[in-house]
Symmetry: C2
Subunit: 359 residues, 2 copies
DNA sequence: AATATTTCCGTGTGCGCACACGGTAATTGA
DNA sequence: TCAATTACCGTGTGCGCACACGGAAATATT
């Protein structure tokens, strides 16, 4: 690898081409006023000497600032998940702030489309240089993307994805594939006869595509032929968040001693797995294998106390970090960005969780 | 959070303090020639206005270059592991190269102490601004660290660690804890009666502390009381790398139909797990649960073909990335660095491996 | 042919900082 | 009291780049 100690600068190629630095600058930025002949000459020398602009001097001279905006759900008590992406975002920001990057953070109320719309309008109405958002509502997102496209404002989707909306990039997890991982874990962990119940905590206001993909992945694992023994799968959709209510429902279903097909394993398709863990602990079902999502505090507690066996983490911190870096690399560093930035499907147990909490 | 759009610059505080920029510069860099009175005044205004130097302009003006050196084992056919840290290193380098960072990469022959010493002497004899190395040989490393301390050259340990040698940081995995994770996986995966065999591929020339810590962690899992059923553990040390020889040994031990305690699970304490997988496949022991380390190509192959059940990854790419960033953040960005940077203990299965291979 | 217009290009300045240089005021020495 | 130090401080220049401005040469217009 070459030393770039003595980097070639604009004045070098200007001299080599027998022109002034201003001319070189003009061809570099394609702003005309250069004859084809000299343009070609400069271009060839540029290539020959492999000129790389000094990004530091460049941003210093331009004195341009970049304004990015983010739109996430508020991190309420019920969805602490969204604290982590903000932390990752802040770390990324501290690294790239010297380049004149500033961030405006917008929050909307979880599952409240009008709140989502309101914040989105704020963002669209101002000239941001890039936007990071989680596209939970299709029509609102689609509309906003159209407007942002008019001003060539790049948009990064974070955590969940909508295809073909012209976004710059998606940073998140492959939901279906994570279901397959859960399938493997459940299959290996269940060493007795019995059924598996898939529990979806459904939001009536929408935004459940995640959950469905995860269930589908999970089911496909047990249809793939890779499983160690065949299992019967039931699906249970729960529409409440009240623990009492959940307990009642679970007691009627997996809590009963169904002689035909007793539930020995439960896969919860989102972060509400702690609800089932509460039930499991409260009703003494210590043999139940429990697999779910996300490192919420209550989930972590249950994992450490063996009430949850495996958690799948979506790398929320990393999501925040990478999504901002995507905008930065695209706009400031002029690099190509991968359309889909799938983050690893981390398998978390009591034994390795501490090393996923450092951030 | 405050906007730093209009950052306060040296001239601002100079004006505010009624002095010149040169004076401010002098107190900023502690190079005297300033009366106590004006010094205090500048200092207080510096604090009041929360002056943050523009790192870009600073590095541009200083025109200082930083030379870092790395010392890794060669990535031979037997230890492809070391390709990944180099890749991570290169990514980090491309990000910080604008700051005048250059890298000299030194390689030593695996398990060859004289080669290690030779390369280390090269590094010590030149005035590097920071060193990244994997401290496989205690005495050599200790000696080098002493010399490097004289010139205040920070050293980052990567992958393996030695305590109390005055290194700036350690970037790697908690070996013992990873053994605990392996224990959990083995415990959950083994749903039949039978014994577990721990296989250590020992290097007679030393550098086995990793392996021993992993075994200890693994054993402690089964002594913790958290296991689902008690297991009997055997240890098998293998000193050869020849597949034929390995086959012969395994055939005599885990391959025989020992009626008392048949081996149903094997934990290989390092990346040589593919040797056992070869044996497992060749001799049709498809029920054997196999857990090992590291995403070598041959291990990946076996994982995808269900010959290996779980791999534990040490994040080698991340190790390379983070170790260089540690030096960068310490020397250029003047940030505090964490002494131990433990990387996650990633659990890899056939289903999630693709998302760990992107780099 | 003289003027007006366009095409093309060089020069100068500033971004924020680091540092060399030289100058003035205060202090010392005789 | 006057010169010689010393302590203290301001000014100027350059890092590599972006961009405004203005000027010379080429071409068009009448």
């Amino acid at each position: 690898m070459k030393d770039n100690l003595s980097r070639v600068k604009i004045s070098d190629i200007a001299q080599r081409a027998g022109v002034s630095t201003g001319t070189v600058d003009r061809v570099l930025h394609n702003r005309g006023e250069v004859s084809k002949k000299t343009r070609d000459k400069v271009l060839s020398i540029l290539d020959e000497l492999n000129y790389q602009p000094d990004i530091l001097a460049s941003t210093l001279a331009m004195k341009k600032t970049y304004r990015f905006a983010t739109l996430f759900p508020e991190a309420g008590t019920e969805n602490l998940f969204w604290k982590a992406p903000l932390a990752g975002l802040n770390t990324a920001l501290s690294e790239i702030a010297p380049f004149g990057v500033t961030l405006s953070r917008f929050l909307f109320k979880y599952n409240d489309q009008s709140s989502f719309n309101k914040q989105l309008e704020k963002i669209v109405s101002e000239p941001y240089d890039g936007v990071i958002l989680t596209p939970v509502f299709y029509d609102s997102t689609s509309l906003a993307l159209e407007k942002l496209a008019e001003t060539n404002t790049p948009v990064v989707f974070i955590n969940s994805n909508i295809e073909n909306l012209g976004n710059l990039s998606f940073v998140g997890q492959d939901a279906r594939q994570s279901g397959l991982v859960a399938g493997r874990l459940m299959d290996y962990s269940l060493n007795v006869e019995g059924c598996i119940t898939i529990i979806n905590f459904i939001n009536e206001k929408g935004g459940n595509s995640h959950i469905l993909n995860r269930e589908e992945g999970f089911r496909s694992y047990f249809e793939s032929g890779n499983f160690t023994k065949p299992r019967h799968l039931n699906t249970l959709n729960i529409y409440t968040h009240e623990q009492e209510e959940v307990n009642r429902i679970l007691l009627e279903t997996i809590g009963t001693d169904n002689p035909i097909c007793k539930t020995m394993g439960v896969f919860v398709t989102n972060s509400r797995v702690f609800r089932v863990a509460n039930f499991k602990k409260g009703f003494g079902l210590s043999n139940l294998i429990l697999v779910g999502y996300d490192l919420l505090e209550s989930n972590i507690d249950h994992l450490k106390k063996n009430n949850i066996d495996f958690l799948i983490s979506q790398n929320p911190w990393e999501q925040g970090y990478k999504s901002l870096m995507a905008l930065f690399n695209s706009r400031i560093m002029k690099k190509e960005i991968m359309k889909n930035q799938f983050l690893p499907i981390d398998i978390i147990t009591k034994e390795n969780i501490d090393y996923y909490l450092n951030n």
